[in-house]
Symmetry: C2
DNA sequence: GTCAACTTGCACAGCAGTGTGCAAAGGCGT
DNA sequence: ACGCCTTTGCACACTGCTGTGCAAGTTGAC
């Protein structure tokens, strides 16, 4: 009947995976992409997508879950054991650069209104961690800003988005993007440009 | 019949104005707000909105035109006769703060895909001006950034958005927002924090 | 108070998208 | 070659939005 419930043949899995990947790209291009657009882009018929995901909501929700997991994982691993706030921010931003697309989808969807209720909530812990880190840096005098930490977190988030957008529009080479974004984010947090540049060079080279 | 074509009674004008104002707010909240949502929010029936604007496109287009005009005007006046790039950026950002909502609508709509074809085009001259200004500053060594001027322009745009968003979410007082945003934008462009703070204080006080 | 301009309320056609059912292919392992 | 799982290709019902027509109010100006 409606097909593939639990039993998984390898090819069904591959299709499901491809649908998710393509959906990520399509939704990034247009957050309102229809199931038909996504299906066609994945080289499949609309009906087939409904075979793998019961609804549009469910599809997007899966994407969001994966993205949150990937992001949380990358961030945690990047910051593991790092005490200096500036270095933690640097490592975190560099790590995000590697899963840029997923990050972009999350932020893009979170900014739109109630696409999937709860994106903001699922993203909240990540944001809270960042705010805490920034507050730490402000307290220690490593960072300086007229903005309170939560607002500064918004700014950082958007700056990263902007750099990704620039890469997307061909204004910037993808290889440079990570380091440039990191320097810019640190600079906006009040870290002197020279210090930021050196830190990023050191961190991005030596493992 | 379909009513009000050319002849204008004052109250029709007032209604038209109110619809535009409410539409701005509604579309800011949800870029996909329907004509019905907008109409209800304006205390009017959907049919009435169609009396003033032939289509959704036309309504949004009017809004965009007004926003572009207001923005171009504010920017031009702010930068008139100012030669120092840092001061020009400062005055420009401060001026934008005064018409924040319109700016937000523009950027929000321009980021979404083809809401009204041509938003990007209408916004392009403004962006070009900003890029030129940034390039100027980079050449003179007033600014410094690992990013090329066009990418830096994206970043600035998004930073301003982020600060507005922070105000919207109550993380920041509206009065402080303009100055804070300006300092942050300048800092991200590589202007030392102390210099940026002084410049903004001077500019925002002495007329 | 009368008249014209504006507004309302309802009805309608049209379109695009979602989600579902079902029968007929299609592919892959064994 | 068989069978099973998956995919396809239609069909359908339903919903929500746009844009329009028309007749009956309502309002402000004169």
């Amino acid at each position: 009947m409606t097909a593939m419930t639990t039993g998984n043949t390898s090819r069904a899995d591959a299709n499901r995976r491809r649908i998710l990947d393509v959906a990520l790209a399509e939704l990034l291009r247009d957050p309102d992409a229809s199931m038909d657009q996504i299906a066609r882009a994945a080289g499949v018929v609309r009906r087939t997508v409904y075979g793998h995901f019961p609804s549009r909501e469910a599809l997007i929700s899966t994407l969001v879950d994966e993205a949150v997991a990937a992001l949380a994982d990358a961030d945690a691993r990047a910051r593991d054991g790092v005490t200096d706030p500036a270095e933690a921010v640097a490592r975190s931003v560099l790590a995000i650069g590697e899963i840029a697309d997923r990050y972009r989808l999350l932020i893009a969807l979170a900014q739109r209104t109630v696409t999937v209720q709860g994106i903001r909530e699922r993203l909240a812990p990540l944001r809270a961690g960042k705010v805490e880190l920034l507050q730490h840096g402000l307290d220690q005098g490593v960072f300086s800003s007229p903005l309170p930490a939560p607002a500064l977190a918004y700014v950082h988030e958007q700056m990263i988005m902007a750099v990704m957008e620039a890469v997307n529009d061909g204004l910037l080479a993808a290889q440079e993007a990570g380091r440039s974004a990191t320097v810019t984010v640190l600079t906006a947090a009040g870290v002197p440009a020279s210090t930021a540049t050196e830190l990023v060079a050191r961190v991005s080279e030596g493992k």
